[in-house]
Each structure stands twice: as C-alpha cells, then as structure tokens.
C-alpha cells in the first residue's frame, strides 16, 4: 500500500483552488467582502493543505520504499520519426518528496498568513488564485520526471512571479507602473535563464536521446564508464567536453531563477509584490529551484568534475567549480549590498540572494546534502523573517492610518520638522529609519523575528547554525580540493560575517531604540492569522537543525578527518541514539545518484568531494565567533540612533573610507551595469535603429522611393515619349477602324423582330441546303 498513485492529486487540488478563486471567489468578495474573503482564503488554504497531506502521504510511502517511482500520465510530445517522446510523468523520490514537503508545508502557512495580510484588498480572491497557481507550477517543477517537465514548472512559476510582483499594478502616482515594470523585469531576467535552459535541454536530447532524468543519468554513467565519445551532427566530442556545456547552461538557468550573479537584479525589485509573495516565492520556494536543478543533475556535474581537462571551461575551472565561485561571489556581494539598504524588505531580499549564494556554492562543491539542508532551513527562517517584516509593515501602515485619521485633531506642525515626512504620501512604511522600538508594540512579531534573525546569523543551536556550518565544513573537510575550495571558503566566511552584521543592523533599527516616527506609537500587533504562522515557523526554526545533526566525535581533529573518510558513509553504520544523526543525508542520498558511484560502487566510477558527516569543531567555533563578533559590532554601531534625526547619515557612511565603499554598494553598481549597460545602451538604440532601418529606410525609402518612383519615372517616359506616337497611334488607329466598321454594322440592327426572324430563317435554310447537298 503506497500513496504514489495519488501524485496527480498534488496538482488537482491547487488547480481547483485557482478555478474556484478565479471564477467564484472574485464574485464572492465583490458581493460581500467579509464573507467572501473567508471563502476565498480558506478555500485556497484548504487546497494547499490537501496538497500538503498528499505530500506527507507520499513521504510516508517513501520511508518504506526509497526507490524513485515514475507515475506517467499521458504523452506530451511524440514525434515518432525523430524518436522524440516526452510524457507528462511524476518522478517521486526522496529529493522531490523533500521539496514537496517544503513547498506545500511552508506554502500552507503562508496561505494562512495571507488571509490576515491581504484583508481588505479588493483583489483578495485574485491573489489567492495566483498563490494556488504558483503551488501548481512549483509542484510540477519538483515532481516532473524530465527536464522538459521541470521547465514547465520553471516557466510557470516565473509567470506567477510576474503576476504576483505586479499584483498592485493599479496603484496611483506611478507606483502601479513601477510595480508592473518590476514584474516585467523579473519575467525577462528569468527568460534569460530560460534561454540557457532551452539550449541545455536541446543539447541533452541530442547527446542522450531523451530528456527524462533517469535514462539521461544512466546513459551518462554508462558512457562515462565506457569512455564513449559523443557524436553530434557537427562533430565528435568527449563526454566531459559536452557535459561541461550542458552543465554550464544549467548554471545560467539556475542563476536566472535563483538570482545569482549576473542575473540577480530582478529579485530586490520583486519586493514590489505583497509580502506573503516575497515570503513564499522570493525566499522559500521558487528561488531555490536553481539549487534543486543542480542537485537533480548531480550526476552530470560530478562527471564533469571527474573528467579532468576536458571538463574545464577555462584555465582549470570546471563547471562545478564555476558554480561554487558564482555562488560564493553572489553570497558576498549581496551581503555587502544588504548593509546599505534602508527598506526592511530589501535587506531581506539581498539577504536571500546571499543565502542562495551559499546554497549554490554548496552544491557547486558537491555537497548536495548541505545545499538541500540549507535550502530547507532557509525556507523556514527566511519565510519567517519575510512574514515578520510583513507584520511590521502592516503595523506601520496601521499606525500611520491611525495617525492620519487624527490628523485634524492634532496640529500637524509638530512633525513637519522632518523633511520628507510632513506629507502623508511621503511616508514609507517599509523604511527602517522611521521605525524603532517596535519590540514593545509587537511582542510576538519581535520574538519570532529574533529567532529568525539569530538563525540566519548562524547562532547555536538554531537551524541556520547547523546548515551553514555544514556548508563551511565542506571546505574544511576537503583540504585536497585546491584553490577554488579555499577561495569559496574564505568568501563564504566573510559573507557569513556580513549576514550577522546586517541582520543585527536591521533588528536594532526596527525593534530597539526609540520610535523615530509618530506612527510607531500607534502600531498594533498583527492579528492571529498573521502571528500563528510566525509562531509555527519559529518553533520549526528552533528544531529544524535536527533533521541533519552531524555526528559528534570528540576524538580531535585528526580523527574527525578520519571520520570524514567514512564519509561517504555507509548508511548501515547508523548509530542508535536519542536523536538520529544525518537523517536528511540518509534520506536524500537515495536520490543523489552520484553518491553511489563513489566508493559505494565497485569499482568506483567517480571521485567527489566528501560530505561532512561529523561536526567540525574548528569550523563551528570559528563561525560562531565570527557571528557573535558581527552581532556585537552591529549592536554597538547602531545603538543610540537619534529620534530627531532619523534620516541622518548611516553610521557606516560616516566613517571615512568605509563610507565611500558603503555608498558604492548603496548605488547598486551591478544593477546599474546590467540595466544601463544592457538595456539602455544596447537595446534601445537597436530598437531605434530598427525603426529607422525597417520603416524609414526599407519600408518607406526603398519601396516608396526607389521601387515606386523608378517605376513611375519609367512609366512617365513611356507614356509621354513612346506612347503617343508609337503605341498610341496603333491603338487609336485600331479603335477608329473598328468604330467605322461598327457604324456600318449598326444599321443592320433595326430592332424589328421580323428582320431578326428573317435572318434566322435564311440561316436555317442555308443550313438545310448544306446538309442536303453535303450528304
């Protein structure tokens, strides 16, 4: 008895939600906002929860049976002549099950939260139908059994992201246009990644003859074992040389979706969407699909790593190395930018980019379990932080409304001294500089936010500590992997410092000190729909580290390394303890095929970096010290922010050299490079040029002037010179001749019936005579 057959229901439930809310919910809300919101909200939450239940059932079934299960539905493509066949099929294994649990679990909580957050919005039902649609596509993404099905979800979540970022497209004063521009930017940036995905899939097909995961991986392994070469229409290549391009293209695709350098610029703008969206799509689920993609394709990446020279893209950097480097650089860069942001959500957005960099770096180093582990914990605490920030924004808006309602009673002059604040339209409920001291106003939000921040900073024993530690330990545990690992290790360590620092800055600015705006005085705690998910997630964050506790061996460093050699760690050695260690690893390793190709295989096919299995005390202590140092520093820096001067220079900006660096990062150099460098200087002139070239030149000039005018001038010559005497003479002469002849003929037509009858009669007679004498 297993639940795999229920897989289609995973999609059916969210789709029902989409249809219900798209068709009925809209009318319900319009008819009666209060009751309608209940219906719309609870219905789609219910659908998300039902999907979660199915996901749990599938998980339970997989506990008994670790193998991957393919549930085919029906053919999508089938071009028999080209042997190209793609089915709609689910692949249920431990990896997709893990993703499913995160998506539907966190997704359900965010649905509940959104009921509270979106309360009062006229487009309440539309919002929930988008959320359900997003779940639908996200589930396709993680359960598809082929790259092409993954791509369906991949584009589908991009679409939902577009719709949800642009959700408030009708706000006045240009805000609506800005929102929809942000949505478009996200869509197009994602499309750049999709460009690479399409090429990667095409290449995969022509190399392996299929796009289904399992056959692709199996034949890749077979070809690698046999040292076969790949025959493509344009030549013959070694497997590594081809796979390095496929994996490179996957990296570009992942960079688009998971907001890595150079395509991350859309994610901070995506904060224009409602906060539950930021929590669900732009923190917990969609943006992690790049990590999922690389983890899913681990065999291909590991073969490239093991291919030596032929797998090198440039110098001696192979694709997995490049993945790690891109991840690490993104982690650092986004961490630095997060320092400079004053918008409460933008800080979290850059933080997300940075943490995604950590995960990408982890999978790039072959530490797929660490990447997935961080993905899960990050989903918990970043969703928590985003929802917390939503709660704060909500509170600030309420406070401001409250203030504004009493505006007539109090005289507004007393806060007119703050420029940019004297008019209520200029009030930005997301600006951290106007906050402060919210911990008393919003206790639940505060405490849960603290848990999330500390987890993100990597403080023991919260979830972030364990997962981030495992990533850093990967570097430490693989001292033989060369310069790339060392570089990535140091970069990530600095990024970890940044993480702790900017989170401290944020927490200090938002919750501590004195309120720097009157609105703070009137901020209420958010309602139960919003705080309940916060509490649930906070508890999850506290305990989530348990899903992959490392083994703890007190044998000192040397022995720790020895333990690592066991690394690759036979599952049978599992120790019975109070808390099971390495649960996630034992669970996921069934889906990471390359794991079975190392020393588990006989003979070993691949060599891959070791996965950290025991707690590396050096790394743990080092990173804890860094985190605590950053927190202390941040605390000192940002204490005593004056109530009177909320918009004074930032503390870091005030320091001579650091200040200019700070300003450099605040000006978002990368975004400018991408937007100005690309769109402005390349695309717009091209469009203008094409307008000139196509319309003015090709259409108007060539056709109207060259072709038409030359035709007309030739016609002119003909009609004025040649025609009158030559052609015309002949034509007119003929005409006159006919005219004269017809004048004579005309006389015969008397109009008298008798005459006509006579001619008929004569004709008949002649014929009769002819017939008689002819015979």
């Amino acid at each position: 008895m297993n639940a795999f057959g229920l897989a289609p229901l995973l999609l059916v439930f969210p789709m029902i939600g989409v249809i219900f809310n798209g068709w009925f919910g809209y009318r319900f809300v319009r008819a009666d906002a209060k009751v309608g919101e209940k219906w719309a909200g609870f219905f789609s939450t219910g659908m998300a929860l039902l999907s979660f239940v199915i996901a749990v059932l599938i998980w339970v079934s997989l506990l008994n049976d670790h193998h991957s299960h393919i549930i085919p539905l029906f053919d999508w493509f089938n071009i028999q002549g080209g042997l190209f066949r793609i089915q709609w099929a689910f692949q249920l294994d431990t990896l997709s099950s893990t993703m499913l649990l995160v998506i539907t679990g966190v997704g359900s909580l965010i649905h509940i939260y959104a009921i509270g957050y979106m309360h009062g919005d006229k487009e309440f039902a539309r919002f929930f139908s988008y959320l359900n649609l997003f779940l639908f596509f996200m589930i396709i993404l993680v359960t598809g059994s082929s790259y092409l099905m993954l791509f369906v979800g991949w584009e589908g979540v991009g679409l939902c992201s577009f719709l949800l970022i642009g959700f408030w497209f009708d706000k006045p004063d240009g805000v609506g246009w800005a929102n929809s521009m942000a949505a478009r930017k996200a869509f197009v940036a994602n499309r750049v990644g999709d460009f690479a995905m399409i090429l990667a899939m095409c290449l995969t097909f022509w190399v392996f003859g299929t796009m289904d995961y399992e056959p692709v991986f199996e034949s890749a392994i077979e070809m690698f074992k046999a040292g076969e070469e790949v025959v493509l229409p344009w030549g013959t290549y070694s497997l590594g040389a081809v796979l390095k391009w496929i994996t490179f293209l996957f990296l570009v695709g992942a960079a688009g979706k998971s907001a890595q350098i150079p395509l991350f610029i859309w994610l901070p703008d995506a904060m224009a969407g409602p906060t539950p969206v930021s929590a669900l799509i732009h923190a917990a689920t969609m943006v992690t699909s790049g990590i999922y993609l690389i983890t899913r394709s681990n065999v291909l990446f590991e073969i490239v790593r093991a291919s030596g020279d032929s797998g090198h893209l440039f110098g001696n950097i192979s694709t997995p190395d490049l993945v790690a480097i891109v991840g690490a650089l993104t982690a650092l860069y986004a961490g630095l930018v997060a320092f400079t942001q004053n918008d409460v959500k933008k800080v979290l957005a850059y933080s997300t980019v940075s943490q995604l960099g950590f995960m990408i770096a982890a999978v790039g180093m072959g530490s797929y379990i660490a990447g997935m582990f961080h993905l899960i914990t990050h989903a918990f605490f970043k969703a928590l932080l985003f929802m917390g920030s939503g709660s704060i924004i909500h509170g600030m808006e309420h406070g401001h409304h409250h203030l504004h309602d009493h505006h007539d009673d109090h005289h507004g002059d007393d806060h007119g001294e703050h420029p940019g604040e004297d008019h209520h339209d200029d009030f930005d409920p997301q600006d951290m500089r106007t906050m402060g001291g919210l911990r008393h106003k919003m206790p639940t939000t505060f405490w849960t936010y603290m848990v999330g921040s500390l987890a993100l900073a990597g403080i023991f024993p919260l979830a972030g500590f364990w997962s981030k530690d495992e990533i850093l330990a990967t570097v430490a545990d693989n001292p033989d992997q060369g310069a790339v690992f060392t570089f990535v290790g140091w970069t990530l360590t600095i990024a970890a410092f940044c993480t702790a620092f900017y989170m401290t800055r944020q927490v200090k600015m938002v919750f501590f000190g004195e309120g720097r705006h009157e609105a703070v005085e009137h901020v209420p705690e958010s309602n139960g729909y919003m705080t309940f998910p916060l509490v649930v997630l906070a508890i999850a964050v506290i305990f989530a580290g348990a899903i992959n506790f490392p083994k703890i061996e007190f044998g000192g460093g040397e022995q720790a390394y020895a333990g690592v050699l066991a690394a690759v760690a036979p599952a049978e050695e599992e120790e019975a303890g109070l808390i099971p260690t390495l649960a996630l690893e034992h669970w996921l390793e069934h889906s990471i095929e390359s794991y079975y190709l190392t020393n588990k295989a006989d003979p070993p096919v691949l060599e891959m970096p070791h996965w950290p299995t025991t707690l590396n005390f050096r790394v743990a202590i080092q990173s804890s010290i860094i985190a605590i140092a950053a927190i202390v520093l941040g605390w000192l820096f940002y204490s005593g922010w004056s109530k009177e001067e909320p918009f004074a220079k930032d503390r870091l900006e005030a320091i001579p050299v650091v200040g200019s660096v700070w300003l450099f990062f605040q000006s978002l150099p990368f975004d400018r490079l991408m937007i100005n460098g690309w769109v402005e200087t390349i695309f717009k002139p091209m469009a203008a040029l094409s307008e000139r070239l196509d319309w003015d030149f090709w259409h108007d000039y060539v056709h109207n002037n060259l072709i038409r005018d030359s035709f007309i001038s030739v016609a002119d010559v003909l009609s004025n010179a040649v025609d009158p005497d030559g052609v015309d003479g002949v034509v007119n002469g003929t005409g006159k001749l006919i005219g004269a002849f017809s004048t004579q003929l005309r006389r015969i037509q008397t109009g008298n019936v008798g005459n006509y009858a006579l001619s008929l009669f004569i004709g008949v007679t002649v014929l009769v005579v002819y017939f008689i004498f002819a015979s």
Binding site: W76, Q80, L159, R184, L199, S690
Partner: protein, 514 residues
C-alpha cells in the same frame, strides 16, 4: 493516368461557393436582411468546419501518402490534372483554415457594418481559394488557387481596411504577384520538361532538376514573400494594420501559412538537393527575421503593428524548423504554423476588440484595462503567453521542437558549420518575445486605470466569448497534449525525410567531404 474520385475534398471546397450563391440572392439593404446574411455566412462556415472535422477524423495518420484523392485528367494535351488530396503536410492546415475562417466570420459580426453582403462573399471565396491551395496536387491547379486567394484579400483590405487601405492593398497585391511570376516560370519550365504538371509524378522524376537551382529559388522567393521571410516582409505591416480584423486574422492565421506550406510541399520534395544546399542561407534569413522582427516589434507603439511584426519573428521560427530538414524540425514547424495561426489570430482579435471600442491602437492610450474588463484581460494574458511560448501552451510545443530540430540538423551541419549556433541565436527570439509581448500586455492591461474612456469599456458578449474560448481550447489542448497533432503528420514527414532529404544530404556531404 489512373483517376479516382472520393469527392470529399471537392465538396468541402464547394461548400463556401454554395454559400456565395446563397448570399447572392440575399439583400443587405434592410436590418433583417443584413442579419440574415451574417447568419447564413456563419452557418456556411460552420458547415465547412464540421465537414473538415469529419475529414480530419477519418484521416489515417499512419499512411504517408495522399488520402481522399480526387484525380482525373483535366487538359490531357498539356499534362494538367485535376488532382486534390491531403496528407500529413496539409491535414492540419485543412482544419486550421476552416477553423480560422469560422472564427474570422464570427468576429466580423459587430466589426463590419458596411457592404455586408460583398464582405461575406469575399470571405467565403477566400475560404475556397485557401482550401484549394492546401489540396491541390497539381502545379497548375495550385498556381490557380494561389493567385485566386489574392483577389478577395485585395478587396477585403481595399474596401474595409483602415485609412491607408488602398496603398496597403495594392502593395500586398503587387508584392505577392511579383513573387509568383518567378514561380510561374519555374512551373511552366518543369511542366513542359516533364510533360506533366501532376505533383506526385513530378516528384518521382525530380532527378531532372538536380543542379538547376533557379527553379528552387523561383519557388522559394514566391513562398518567401508570402511567409514573409526577411527582407521581403515590408508588405506585411501595411497589410496587417490596414486590414479589417477578420482580414488580419485570416492573413496571419492562414495566408502566411500558405508560404511555409509551399516550402514543405514543393521545395523540399521537388528539389531536395537544392534545399539542403540552401538550408544555411534560409536558416540565416530566418534567424535574422526572428531577431529583427522581435526588435522592430518592440519599437512599435501601435499595438496592431506590434503584433504584425511579431509574425515575422514567429514565422522565422517556422522557416528555421523547415530548413532543419529533419523530422523534429519539420513537424515542429508545421505545428508552429498552426500555433501561430491560433495565437496571433487571437491577438488580432484582441486588438480588434479593443480598437472597435476605443478607435485607437496607440499603446499610450491604454493602461489598467484589467480593472475594467477583467475576464477579457485574463484570456488575453493566456493568448499572449501562448504567443511568447510558455510551456503548457501551444507556442512552446512548436518553438521547442523547432529549436530541438535545428540543433540536431544534419543539413545545417554540412560543410562543418555548427547547427547549435543557429539554435542559440534563434533562442534569443524566445527572450525577445517575452520583451515585446510583455510590453504590450503590461501597457494595455496593467498600470492604473486613469483614463475615463478605458473605464467604460464593455466586457465581451456571448459571441465574442465563444470566439476567444474556441481559440483558447486549442491553445491549451495543443500545449498540453501535442501528441495527436504530431501523430497526424508523423508518417508523411518521415517519408519525406527518408526518401528525399536523407539521400540528398548524403550525396552533398559526400561531395563536401571530397
């Protein structure tokens, strides 16, 4: 020659003509008369549609040859035959034609108010002509139908078009006509040399023209103008923007496909070697068209012109697929032809629907229409997404097959060139499609609703809803389950590739190898 007569195709072609006869006896002078004409025209189109569905259902996809043949000698002295038949190359276009025609005739209900009788007569004549183009299996017959379609379209643009309609219709007519002349020369040459105009017989002796590349180009230029392939595209924006909505739908939906169909039906089997030799050239033109069309489309502020230019981009994909010269590419291209007909047809309907109420097509005049006409906005979103190739909708199925086919193309790899470069450039069209379509969609439907005229728009009525939903059903169906659509042409295309193109590639590779 052996004659056979299953009559189905001839009857299908006669249905619109019967409709024309009926309409001739009706009067559009009174309100009721005009109503009657509309109903009659819609009924005739519906009958043709039902009839074509019956033919499609009874079509056998596993048979590579012609089916439902009507074949007898017509002018024996010249070797001209009356030969109609369909196979995998044309079966989808048969359905597309009758389907698009029904919708175009339906879409004209409110949009055309003058000279109704003539208008519907021209539409029905056009339907017969287009069906004839797709059925004809004799070069002479084909040429007659090919030219015949020009006439009704010329009048449709010239009488019911926008303000520059005379210019546009003349340009359309002359452009296409000029291209056809070369084809006529080629047809006459071939017919006289082979002493027959019957297509299957000509294909059987296509060795006669090996090395005679001007014949290939004679056909290719005529078709390229119709498609239109860059740089022959400049009639298209004029014709599209000036044509009435139904005209644009038909133009995009079916007439342009006559060009791509011509390539598959005539160029590939008649001149396989010339096709292989020309593949890189045409593929490059196709890719220029993809990128160029997309960029120019982005620069437009008139939404109808934007959609018109997007056709150039989309048909670039189709051309690339055909000249990949393998099963995946060709089948993808044929299906993409159908897809383009559906999604661009629907886009023109959307533009027409908005234009009818606002009398402007300037992007800046719109904004926030989602708020005033939400149902229409949602359906338009799906159509736009289909046009930009979102997986799960029809556009992706065609585009992806084409890209896949082009990367594995042996023809494009002849002489050591790298097909993946073609694929990579063509794929940028996918990004650009998102850029220009999103620009249009966002500009029209999103943003604040700050103009009063936009706030008072009416939502679709029942008939318009039915038209949109008919488009959408196929957009989703093909997108989710393309297998039956591919199955219809599997056998024919495989036969074409195996018997004609593969040997040609082999011989040319052998020459290039030496």
């Amino acid at each position: 020659m052996e004659s056979s007569f299953s009559a189905l195709l001839t009857i299908l072609m006669a249905i619109p003509l019967v409709g024309v006869l009926i309409l001739l006896f009706m009067s559009d002078e009174t309100e009721e008369g005009a109503q009657g004409i509309k109903i009659a025209a819609n009924l005739v189109a519906a009958v043709a549609l039902v009839f074509s569905i019956i033919i499609m259902i009874s079509f056998d996809g596993t048979d590579p040859g012609l089916q439902f043949e009507d074949k007898f000698s017509w002018i024996p002295a010249l070797g001209i035959t009356y030969h109609m038949g369909i196979d995998g190359l044309s079966i989808l276009f048969l359905g597309l034609t009758t389907f698009i025609m029904s919708l175009a005739i339906g879409a004209s209900w409110n949009m055309i108010t003058e000279q109704i009788k003539k208008y519907y007569i021209f539409l029905l004549l056009l339907e017969t002509g287009m069906l004839g183009v797709f059925f004809a299996q004799d070069l002479f017959l084909f040429y007659i139908f090919w030219e015949f379609t020009l006439v009704p379209m010329y009048f449709l643009i010239g009488i019911w078009g926008g303000k520059d309609r005379v210019y546009a219709s003349l340009k359309f007519f002359l452009y296409t006509m000029a291209g056809s002349l070369l084809m006529l020369l080629a047809i006459l040459y071939m017919g006289i040399q082979a002493e027959t105009f019957n297509l299957p017989e000509l294909i059987a002796q296509n060795d006669l023209w090996v090395g005679n590349n001007w014949l290939f180009w004679g056909f290719a230029i005529a078709f390229a103008i119709k498609v239109p392939v860059f740089p022959f595209h400049s009639w298209l924006p004029d014709a599209h923007t000036q044509a009435p909505t139904a005209g644009s739908i038909i133009l995009a939906g079916v007439l342009l496909k006559m060009g791509t169909y011509g390539f598959t039906r005539f160029n590939l089997p008649l001149f396989p070697e010339a096709s292989v030799e020309a593949a890189p050239i045409i593929a490059v033109l196709a890719i220029i068209g993809i990128i160029y069309g997309a960029i120019v489309s982005f620069a437009q502020t008139d939404i109808k012109k934007l959609v018109a230019y997007s056709s150039i981009s989309h048909l670039g994909f189709v051309m690339l697929g055909i000249f990949s010269l393998n099963e995946i590419g060709i089948q993808g291209a044929i299906l993409q032809g159908v897809n383009h007909g559906l999604s661009t047809g629907a886009l023109f309907f959307i533009v027409g629907f908005i234009y009818e109420q606002r009398h402007t097509r300037e992007l800046s005049a719109f904004g926030g229409l989602w708020k005033s006409i939400p149902v229409f906005a949602v359906l338009s979103l799906v159509v736009s997404l289909s046009s930009m190739g979102l997986p799960g909708l029809n556009g992706f199925v065609g585009e992806f097959s084409i890209l896949l086919g082009s990367m594995g193309s042996d023809a494009l790899a002849v002489g050591g060139s790298r097909p993946w470069i073609y694929t990579a450039f063509a794929t940028t069209g996918v990004i650009l499609a998102a850029v220009y379509l999103m620009k249009m969609y966002q500009g029209v439907f999103m943003g604040p609703l700050d103009k009063e005229e936009n706030a008072n728009l009416r939502e679709m009525n029942g008939g318009e809803m039915a038209i949109m939903l008919s488009f959408l059903i196929f957009i989703v169906w093909i997108g989710v389950n393309s297998q039956p659509w591919f199955a219809a042409m599997d056998a024919t295309v495989a036969d074409l590739v195996n018997t004609q193109i593969a040997p040609a590639i082999e011989s040319i590779t052998a020459i290039a190898g030496n």
